[in-house]
């Protein structure tokens, strides 16, 4: 039962944390670009406004896809440990690969629902998103694999525990950096916002969204980002108690926002070539170091 409360807490915290951080992020970007920007709570307003409007539905698969996306994202968010064993809802199932793939359910649901809208822009957006996934996941997974190999566990909360004496980022700095670059792609921040690219493909998958569909998918996106950043914090920054965990979470977020605010967008091949170039190479180098025991 405790586990259920913890899981619920994950959802609640994730929702509020990320939604407000998104607002903060918009503010920061605006400031970097010499604008004033919206208030930090603007995204709450956006979500609730969207939810309250009368939407259009493009058929049952469209509805089903949205539900699947949101359900999958929430299920993943419920499993993710937040910085320590105490805040791990399901210590027996927080296996990294389980989280990664459960996460994919949401992504698939979204992709399916959006393409189900019948709009080709959505298809193009999904095609781009999937290709991008192929780009960033590979270096990321190599780095995570080397971490798992190093700590001999794939369980996130155990990884956190094993980092008590030093962050993984310090054990394998190279890996940390690569994972962060991949995280940028995962978050869909610039320069990796190819799949939505509003000016090119009419927001890609979101083309047909309206009203509560937009709101629900925004919430899904929130949980997704929560999972992605949490994983990074847990695996590389050693988690810590809830407070520390939040601080690390915010720092990672702000860093990502800052970097993205000064960069333009990649083209799809550029993105692939980028990820499969230096980051992938370095990820393998990192793996080699781990194998040879050359860690800090």
């Amino acid at each position: 039962m405790v586990a259920a409360y913890k899981a619920l807490f994950n959802l609640v915290l994730g929702f509020f944390l990320v939604l407000s951080l998104e607002g903060v992020g918009r503010k920061i970007t605006a400031r970097v670009q010499r604008r004033i920007g919206p208030p930090w709570y603007q995204n709450f307003i956006d979500v609730f406004k969207a939810l309250s409007k009368h939407p259009f539905s493009n058929g049952w698969v469209f509805d089903f896809g949205v539900l699947m996306a949101l359900g999958g994202a929430m299920a993943t968010a419920m499993i993710v440990p937040m910085g320590s064993t105490t805040w791990t809802p399901f210590p027996n199932s927080d296996n990294f690969f389980v989280i990664m793939y459960l996460f994919a359910v949401g992504a698939l649901g979204m992709a399916m629902g959006m393409v189900g809208s019948g709009n080709p822009w959505a298809s193009i957006g999904v095609s781009r998103a999937l290709t991008q996934m192929l780009g960033y996941e590979l270096p990321y997974l190599i780095v995570i694999s080397s971490t798992i190999f190093y700590y001999k566990t794939a369980s996130i909360h155990k990884l956190v525990e094993l980092q008590k004496n030093g962050w993984n980022l310090l054990v394998m700095p190279l890996g940390g950096i690569i994972a962060f670059i991949s995280l940028m792609g995962m978050l869909g921040k610039k320069p990796f916002d190819i799949s939505t690219a509003p000016a090119e493909i009419a927001s890609g998958p979101m083309t047909e969204l309206s009203g509560k569909y937009l709101g629900l998918l925004h919430i899904m996106h929130v949980f997704a980002m929560f999972v992605e950043v949490s994983l990074f914090v847990d695996v590389f920054l050693g988690g810590g108690n809830l407070g520390w965990y939040l601080v690390k979470f915010i720092v990672v977020w702000v860093l990502a926002v800052l970097i993205s605010s000064v960069l333009p967008r990649f083209r799809i091949e550029q993105m692939l070539k980028f990820y499969w170039g230096v980051p992938l190479g370095l990820a393998f180098l990192n793996a080699l170091f781990v194998l040879l025991g050359w860690t800090l």
Partner: protein, 627 residues
Amino acid sequence: MAMSTLLVSLVATSVVMYFISKASWKIGAILNFLIGIFLISYVFALSTGTTSELGTLFGQKLQLIWTNASYYFSLVSLLVIVSVMLFAIKWLDSQKYPAAFNMFLLMMTAGSLGVFMAADLITLYIFWEIAVLSSMLIVPMGKKESRKAAVVYAVMSASGTYMYLYGAFLAFQRYGTLNISEIAKHMVSDPSTGIKATIFLLLASAGIAKSGIFPLHTWLRIAHGNAPDAFSAVLSGQLVKLGSYVLMVSVAALPSLKIFSNIPFYSGIPATNYFLIALGATSIIIGTLMAIKQDDMKMLIAFSSVANGGYILIGIGTMDPIGFEGGVLHVFNHALAAAVIFMAFASVVYRTHTKKISELGGLIHKMPITFLAYLFAIISLAGIPPMSGFISKWMIYQALVRKGMFITAFIAFFGSIGSFLYVFRPLAGVFLGQLPKKYKDVKEVSPIMWLPMVILVTISLIIGIWPFPILKPIEGMRMDFGIAPTMKIADSSHWLIKGFAGNWNPVLVFNLFLIGFVIAYILYTLFPRPKKVDLLAPHKKEGAPINIYTGGEFIYNPDLYQYNTKFYAGFERMYEKHPSWEKLLEMLAKFFYDLGEWVHGWFFRPSPSAYTFWVTLTILIVFWVRW
């Protein structure tokens, strides 16, 4: 009924089936299906360790034995075959040769079962050839290209088979027995690594050819892509698994870790196994990349079969307890997924008569059940929970990471993420998007056709949530082969699957997903009800425009507003000019043709003068050598 009686009578029945089907193919198909059901019940009733004797062939007893492996593989095969048999009851009305189809399908079933039951290499070979021969005769029943496909299939398969045969006799010559377990014993004590490795690789090559592993993978595209549509489900879902079985026999039943313990290559894996793993990895890369760029949906899944064959091989090849289980379980997952996908495609082709993704679209409006079956099948194929496909991939990753095989792991990840790409392509291009006008009167297929798909998908889902029934024979197999017999991976009492680095609870994960879905549904119902947009408006009324966002323009022809040609153009462009192994093999075939031409031109066609020349020259050479 003894196993031997069963197999012999199955082969005999198949011939009778031809004449029954000649009278009425429908009765034949139904009988086939009933026989299939009987076989499933038969398989459940057999207890492991049962043996049976088929007869004697050149002084060697042909023995059958029922093991955990036989049980598992037979069950998987029969699930696929029986589904297709059910599917065929209706589907066959679109075929030219229903009677022959029934006959060969049943014969192939007998052959496959025989392969799994065989206790010695020669029995295995006999049934193997029966399965290959009968399936090879079904393949050309498809469209025009399928004729060539049959030839390519036969030759590729034979190239593996004959290497296997050579290996089998090499083993027999050296160890004096053909019995697999006896050979295993002898091989462990045989000091000569070279010969052992030769035997090992020769035996494995049959599996390599059959399961579409790298150097011999090209037949899958052409054969699966062009075979009669429903039979592609059997080819990809079941027949390819014969190859996996042989690979398993050569890697695990002959305990490769013990046999080749003197040539470790990397983290305790012998060089021989590593070679196979490398082949598997190559297959994943090729299969994935090629699948991503296919426009022919059947060929797409054919390449996906290449990639998944690679997974199975990698999993089994590690001989790591969890990797092995993962590889073997992947057999089941891929079998079911591929079977459903191909049956779904068969249904689509049955209605639309095309298998080009770029000519289709929006069939979800017309064939929702087929769509759902396909959807769940690809979820399983892509290895996403809660379908069973995830479990095996998870296990394989565990093994790879544990062994520190990062490059292989990388390739496995690549294949896995690549699979998202390629399974999505038909989903988007065939089922979603805009329905082309010419298909506006297409209907859902009859229940006889969608029922088998639904059943298989349901099984896959149930196993994804509660995998312990299927893990039990796999664990038994692992014990039989002595791979870490003390380790327990499936812990059904705690609902856990234990990896080396963390466990997971499939039931819990499914429940979480369910909870997430319920919450989402609650949220969904809380907020205002949507208005329906009629996506089929232009089909229903002449002159009505499309109802969705078109940038403010009016578009009347839905065919134009569909994105399904070169779906991943951005990515595909990057490897357009890839070197083609298929071309290389074609060149090899052409070389043989040219050689034939040359031989014909030089020795057979010429005038008597040339004959005289050759005769005289031969005498001289013989004289020169012998004198």
